[in-house]
């Protein structure tokens, strides 16, 4: 190592981002039926990089280093297995001949069309024969470089469930001989919806992280925005719902700096200094909200962005138009019934009609058992009971909520609420 590169040369999320790019180009090469093979090659490539770089320092161009290493590994793998395997349909013969093997790999495994490749990969993941959850899991695993444990957190479920989901998804890509290409125009919209769901989950992961103490990871938020912009910038699929999702994400992200105080405590919307909201992001949000109007159908992102817009418009918490917000939640709940949306609606009910009505709304939630492991349910009930000065009941709910979250910042916030009850 000649000179020590400064730490800031290590780009945020370099490993996760390069993972997504490499998986995309290798899937183009191996075919979606060999997704596991692509993942193995990428895992080995990144491990080799870590092993080398941590002692030698970063190379001048880490991405180019990785693409070269991945190409070499791919050629090794193809040489070893060339007669027994079927790869991407149109190029399999080229990969089975020693004359054309290296040129074909060099042609495909590079970053010349990396945006298109990642876009196509998103749609490979969204096969109609997979469940929506499985599609989302595969996107997070392949394009976003999430580990199984990290995906489990995003889904509020356990490791084995995700592992099984991914296994079945890989099997399904194999059995259905899926191509590496965009779906036909008729299926595009439906598949796009699942792609957007995955991006939204990635974004939310940025607000409650799996294994870091800090609550907000701006890098994950940026990654979700990057993927959504990849879609909204594409000439092939420029739809209103992608813009609506971008609006929602920018509105939410604009509050990042106001969301924690100097000691890293969570500040609720009510307590936030609205002067710290990022106006540049709010501007982008409004831009995308405008652009989203071209959509033929109202997506849930339109409605959620509408709610976020109401918050952005209010000069202070007291000026919030809860009536409009409740209206958006009512429409949302009709179009997309879900206990989670119903819970958020109940919070808006509380702001508009008081804590007793909020509790009533919570008790009326259909399929509320689906939220059994979600801390926000007891946390909300605790909040409403504390407003009714039923402090002992509130404390029980807050304690319950503490047990359900892994986030130290959320635990601390809930403990502060218990302390404030002065039992």
């Amino acid at each position: 190592m000649s000179a020590t590169p400064p730490i800031d040369q290590l780009v945020d999320n370099l490993f996760r981002r390069e993972w997504g790019k490499l998986i995309s180009v290798l899937t183009k090469l191996f075919g979606p039926q060999n997704l596991q093979l692509a993942e193995d090659v990428v895992q080995e490539t990144l491990l080799k990089a870590l092993h080398t770089w941590k002692i030698n320092g970063l190379p001048q161009n880490p991405s180019a280093w990785l693409f070269t290493a991945a190409r070499n590994k791919a050629i090794d793998v193809l040489r070893r297995q060339k007669t027994q395997q079927q790869y991407a349909r149109n190029i399999t013969p080229l990969l089975q001949s020693e004359y054309s093997l290296s040129p074909t790999v060099n042609e495909l495994v590079n970053d010349a069309h990396i945006d298109d490749d990642q876009l196509k990969m998103m749609f490979v993941c969204c096969q109609p024969q997979l469940s929506a959850e499985a599609q989302v899991a595969v996107i997070l695993k392949t394009l976003c470089g999430f580990s199984v444990a990290e995906i489990a957190k995003a889904f509020v479920t356990n490791y084995d469930t995700i592992e099984k989901r991914l296994y079945r998804a890989r099997q399904s890509l194999k059995e259905n001989k899926v191509c590496f290409d965009l779906p036909p125009r008729t299926a595009l919209e439906q598949r796009l919806e699942n792609v957007l769901t995955a991006i939204y989950l990635l974004f939310n992961e940025g607000y409650s992280s799996t294994h870091h103490d800090n609550l907000i990871r701006k890098d994950l938020v940026a990654e979700a925005i990057r993927l959504a912009e990849l879609i909204s910038n594409s000439k092939l699929i420029n739809t209103g719902s992608a813009h609506a999702l971008l609006a929602l994400m920018y509105f939410t992200a604009s509050r990042t700096d106001a969301r924690l105080d100097e000691e890293g405590n969570i500040l609720l919307l009510k307590e936030q200094d609205r002067g710290k909201w990022n106006r540049e992001m709010t501007g982008k949000a409004i831009h995308h909200l405008d652009a989203s109007a071209v959509a033929e159908n109202l997506s849930k992102y339109h409605l959620e962005a509408g709610i976020a817009f109401e918050h952005a418009k209010a000069i202070n918490y007291e000026k919030t138009n809860w009536k409009n917000i409740l209206h958006y939640y009512d429409v949302l709940l009709t179009m997309y019934p879900s206990p989670l949306i119903a819970l958020n609606r109940a919070i808006a009910v509380g702001e508009l009609l008081g804590p007793a009505e909020s509790i009533r709304a919570i008790e009326a939630i259909e399929n509320i058992t689906l939220l059994d492991k979600y801390y926000l349910l007891p946390a909300t009930l605790g909040e409403q009971h504390s407003k009714l000065r039923q402090n002992e009941r509130a404390a029980v709910y807050f304690k319950n909520a503490i047990l359900l979250t892994a986030s130290p910042a959320v635990k601390k916030l809930l403990q502060q609420k218990i302390d404030a009850l002065q039992l």
Partner: protein, 109 residues
């Protein structure tokens, strides 16, 4: 010479790799700033062990993952105590990694 032993987790997530890389760069940065760092190289896994004569070649040098040497640093230190103290920030202790600290023999000419 700091010799790094251990075969860290073979299935870290990209995020964990990023975290590990950040820690290593911070450590090297610190060593370099203090004028301690001289050089270092990673070693590839695998290799050969030769015993007796060149016909006595086996795959090696170790079978145990824990004992595999992943790489080394050459650093400047006055004595073992100082060298050991410089290892306080070694990032892989919690990943079952260990460090062998050896003094490179210098002949006075």
């Amino acid at each position: 010479m700091l010799i790094f032993h251990g075969c860290p987790d073979v299935t870290p997530s990209p995020e964990q790799m990023q975290a590990s890389m950040t820690e290593w760069m911070a450590w090297i940065d610190k060593l370099a700033k203090d004028g301690r760092y001289v050089s270092g190289e990673p070693l590839m896994t695998g290799g050969k062990l030769i015993k007796g004569n060149i016909k006595g070649v086996t795959d090696g040098p170790y079978a145990e993952g824990k004992e595999v040497v992943g790489g080394y640093f050459i650093i400047n230190a006055e004595n073992y105590d100082e060298a050991v103290a410089l290892c306080a920030d070694y990032p892989d202790f919690d990943k079952d990694g260990s460090i062998q600290v050896r003094q490179v023999m210098k002949m006075d000419m």
